[in-house]
Amino acid sequence: MKLFGELWQYREMILSLVKRDLKSRYKGSVLGFFWMFLNPLLQLCVYTVVFSTIMRMGIDKFYLFLFVALVPWMFFSTCLSSGTTVVMGQQDMVKKIYFPREVLPLAFTISQFVNMLLSFVIIFVVVFVSGIKLDPLSLLYLPLIMIIEFVLSLGIVLLASSLTVYFRDLEHILSIISMAWMYLTPIIYPVEMVPENLLKFFYLNPMTPITIAYRDILYYGKAPHVKTLISAALLGILVLVVGEILFSRLQRKFAEEL
């Protein structure tokens, strides 16, 4: 509770870090802020070409099937692999001034989250163009699943950023893990393709229920199953709690280890 109060007090710092991150990401490029929309759009083009003309999956509007799962995945995987640099990249501040260290992972996750929200503008445009009918009522579940994914990602960033300070190899290890994790999550294939006996392991992956929920809402146009939502929420909260416990332990020696 004390932490929440302190983070609230430092909200201006979080906000200015998010702004700085978003501003600096595309600073100096000709198209600037446009890249935030252009990037997912171009990716969509690549996947459409590959999966609709070369590797045909036999799924109707496969590009959309893939895209609605891929955008949330990119948010998660960036948190997983770039989250390692969050504390290391701010060494100067960590070593020299006090602020609740959770500010850094929180600001990073928020800025990635904002990025994802902007990509969702493209998703809605594509969904509209493709002519898929969305159920307005089930769309209400969208913010909920986004929040659940945010909670999960924040937990991952807390873990990755604090552990990297002690084990610098984690950065490289996590980029491999991130790739493997993507193929172990039903993103480019439907979860129905997973063999029955492996299915229960698949549901241990917190990204599985989240991906299914996104797809239910945005591709199938139906409300996600309550069971899916509950398992996503529980796994997300579990990761966040473990992440924060570990982070709060490890942060005590950040200044010495950096």
Partner: protein
Amino acid sequence: MRNPENAIEVNNITKTFKIYHDKGHSLKEKALHVSRRKYEKHQVLKGVSFEVKKGEAVGLMGQNGCGKSTTLKMLTKIMYPDTGTIEMNGRISSLLELGAGFHPDLSGRENIYINASTFGLTKKEIDKRIQDIIDFSELWDFIDNPVRTYSSGMYMRLAFSVAINVDADILLIDEILAVGDLNFQTKCINKLMEIKASGTTIVLVSHSTDQIESICDRSIWIHEGVVRAQGETQVVNREYVNYMRSLRNQALEEEQARKNEESAGTVGEGTEASSESVSENESVNAPGEETGEEQQPEPEVQDKIIVKSAVITNASGESQSLFTLGESVTLEIELYAEELVKDYLIELNLVRADVLFCYGVSTSCDRIACEEWQGDRKLKITFPQMNLLKGLYHFDLHIANSDGSTIVFKGGIAQFEIEMDTPERGLVFLPHEWK
């Protein structure tokens, strides 16, 4: 908090750093070079306890590496103690490292917002303070330029202005008052006094005892990881200064002893030895000190007499280097003569650190007969009432033949300092009466 009137309570904190000779950060290095990962444990703090009352200004001082900055870092919660507890009551602002987190491409104004936010201020609070911050930094014309175009002085001024305008309950300051030019420094100190007067608790780490004396009510002297003394600023400062001086004296004496040994080894080797004695004189004296002296060592003179030791003692015969005005000062010298010395006179000159020749006295002017002498000899001169005013002084020793030709000259054989509580000025105390 044991006492609600305290702003800070530090209870028996310890901190040990591991100093790695070859630190591996990656898993591979950690796994493969287990044996190579040697480290020394260095205990910086060995149980420090102190309390600071609300509204009090406290100075932390000590030698380099004594642990005062580590203590401050723990008060700031950048680091945590291994054992012991720290309790703080109130909003903390720390001026440890000015301008950490400044972004060079952003303007001064934008950086104020970012920097102030790292102190936990909200936008509204910053809006309220921004004019004060800009006014204090005196950077009106430059505030919208990118910070990378600032001079280092301007940079520090901006950073200091932000840090000092955070209305904290507890202000922690580390060695950063050397900001900007003299005028700005004075302004900073005045601002600190103002902040102190408004009831803010201040903890200041500084090497400047003057600074501590001008701001702090109380001093804590940390020595080798423990609190060696605490109390009224002036008292503790004097103790500290005394100790530091004795350290310096010791180093000086050791150097002297080493040189004496060297020169003792070369006595009797003719010109070589004498040339060495010249260089010795130069290194013992402060640069340029000899220009004011009439006794220049003549190169052809051999080092027949060696000063084995020179100590300054107080009235009770204990070695001391810091005196107050009017105290008794005694100089004790141990000499060694290689050959028989006869028909000689001993002269002592008292010189202030800025090469002002204050007083000279010799055995001949006091009409004291000097016996013939060979081997060891002790010499003692007492000034029962040292009336020189505040300053750093040293003795030069000159032993000459009765015709005035130098046998040996040693500059700066011993030094002492006079302190005083009265604001009299000049060189010497003259007894006086008003009517």
